[in-house]
Amino acid sequence: MNKGIAIQRLFIAALVVSVGFFGVVFGMIAYK
């Protein structure tokens, strides 16, 4: 796996985690 692909996958993983985090926060606020 070259460096470019590794960075890309890392970026996608970070994006998924961020979306998950903000989704949970949004879900709690929306339900409140």
């Binding site: 979306v19 998950g20 989704g23 949970v24 926060v25 949004f26 879900g27 709690m28 606020i29 929306a30």
Partner: protein, 445 residues
């Protein structure tokens, strides 16, 4: 873009949409079921909110209810005095304009005062990490001994817990002892010299029987020796849990102020002279007023349980008193729905709950203090009423005639139209005070 790359991008987009959808659903479920990570976010939110409130409360005139617009234009002092009908004596009161207790004559002259700033009592208070500024610290209930010694509760507005401690001083305001705990609202002394007061503090563990998520403030009754050493501490949650009145705990989960479910504001001791009038109680038991559940309760400190509890036709009440005729007297802050203000004083029979006497305001003379407040049945049958928010102490006869009226002269801001709350007022017969007054020889102020 080749087919593989397009499929990969579609997958990522689908992944993000799915993750966002599932995480929103999970967030809702976590909120409802209080699952991780909800408690972390809730605590962070509450802490931020409390911290923000502490930082943004800058003016005690505009940002708090310590000073309220005075209802009737006057500059304060004695507004009415019927010498024939009033119970003559000296009136002790604490006012939030300063950390002071004042003793005034029937004519309104200050004959003695007690005063110690909080920073002189505790330079580095061991029980408070970041105290609010002196402007927001004030004295609550004061207990006066015949020799001029005084015990006062101290409060810090805008802080949580707001109980700032208990101090006993002599007639010249020199500290005799101090009790560094979150003492709040009330203090009283039993016939054996023991001191009864209230403390509160955050509980961080879930309590059995209570449908409330910690952290929340739990109140405790504390008994101190005459020299200020703690002898006993009893959690109100425990006292209810051990009793036949444990159903009260179920109510706590439904109340608005979940961070402060009890808000106990009174502790009185049933002494020997009154015990015979209340055959369902025993001497030495302790009478509490629990504001946030509109309940008054009696606790046996030896058995560590509530022995009697009742809610009645009052709302957000203060200062229940045992009376020598077997009735009780209470300051009902928000239970009057007619004209003349929201508050009333009720005398009622605790066995039948029949109201035997009440004082309410009228359109000419509003009576309303939605928080705080106190009353005292005087030996001649009159009642001394502290209408805290209006800085007013007045005495009424059984026929509801006002025979003495004092309006606090401690005014501030907005053309002096804001009056300082009077926390507590109490009348003393001159023979019951044996110390020499400092005779400041001045009208208040």
């Amino acid at each position: 873009m080749n087919k593989g790359t397009a499929r990969q991008r579609l997958f990522i987009v689908a992944l993000l949409v799915s993750v966002s959808f599932l995480s929103v659903v999970f967030g809702m479920v976590a909120y409802q079921l209080k699952l991780w990570p909800f408690p972390i976010f809730r605590d962070a939110y509450q802490a931020t909110k409390a911290w923000r409130e502490k930082l943004t409360t800058r003016s005690r005139y505009d940002d708090t209810n310590l000073f309220i617009k005075v209802r009737h234009t006057n500059s304060g002092g004695i507004l009415r005095y019927n010498k024939e009908k009033a119970y003559s004596g000296f009136t002790l009161f604490t006012s939030v304009h300063a950390q002071k207790a004042l003793l005034i004559s029937m004519e309104g002259q200050i004959v003695h005062e007690w005063h110690i700033p909080f920073s002189s009592i505790w330079k580095n208070p061991p029980h408070i990490r970041f105290p609010v500024s002196e402007d927001f610290i004030y004295w609550g209930k004061a207990y006066l001994y015949p020799n001029g010694d005084l015990i006062v509760t101290i409060k810090g507005l805008g802080d949580t817990p707001w109980g700032y401690g208990l101090v006993k001083m002599d007639k010249d305001s020199r500290i005799i002892w101090k009790y560094a705990e979150h003492v709040h609202h009330d203090v009283n002394v039993g016939s054996d010299g023991k001191i009864y007061t209230l403390i509160h503090g955050f509980t961080t563990e879930k309590m059995p029987g209570i449908k409330l998520e910690p952290p929340f403030l739990d109140d405790s009754i504390v008994v101190l020796s005459a020299d200020g050493h703690e002898l006993k501490r009893l959690s109100l949650s425990k006292a209810f849990r051990n009793s036949d009145f444990s159903n009260v705990l179920n109510v706590l989960g439904d109340i608005r102020e979940q961070w402060d479910p009890w808000h106990t504001n009174n502790v009185d001791i049933l002494d020997e002279s009154m015990a015979n009038q209340f055959p369902f109680l025993e001497k030495g038991q302790v009478l509490l007023s629990i504001r946030n559940i509109d309940t008054i309760a009696v606790v046996d400190m030896d058995k560590e349980r509530v022995v009697w509890a009742i809610t009645g036709p009052w709302h957000r009440q203060h200062d229940p008193d045992f009376l020598s005729n077997g009735n009780m007297l209470i300051f009902d802050n928000r239970g009057h729905y007619g004209k003349g203000g929201k508050s009333r004083i009720i005398e009622f029979d605790p066995m039948t709950m029949e109201i035997t006497w009440q004082y309410v305001g009228n359109e000419q003379g509003i009576f309303s203090s939605v928080v705080k407040g106190a009353q005292q049945r005087l030996p001649n049958g009159n009642t001394l009423i502290t209408e805290s928010l209006q800085g007013r102490i007045f005495e009424v006869t059984r026929e509801k005639e006002i025979v003495w009226e004092f309006s606090s002269p401690f005014r501030a801001a907005h053309d002096n139209q804001l009056v300082a709350n009077v926390w507590w007022g109490q009348r003393f017969h001159p023979d019951s005070l044996t110390f020499e007054f400092s005779n400041l020889n001045q009208n208040a102020p």
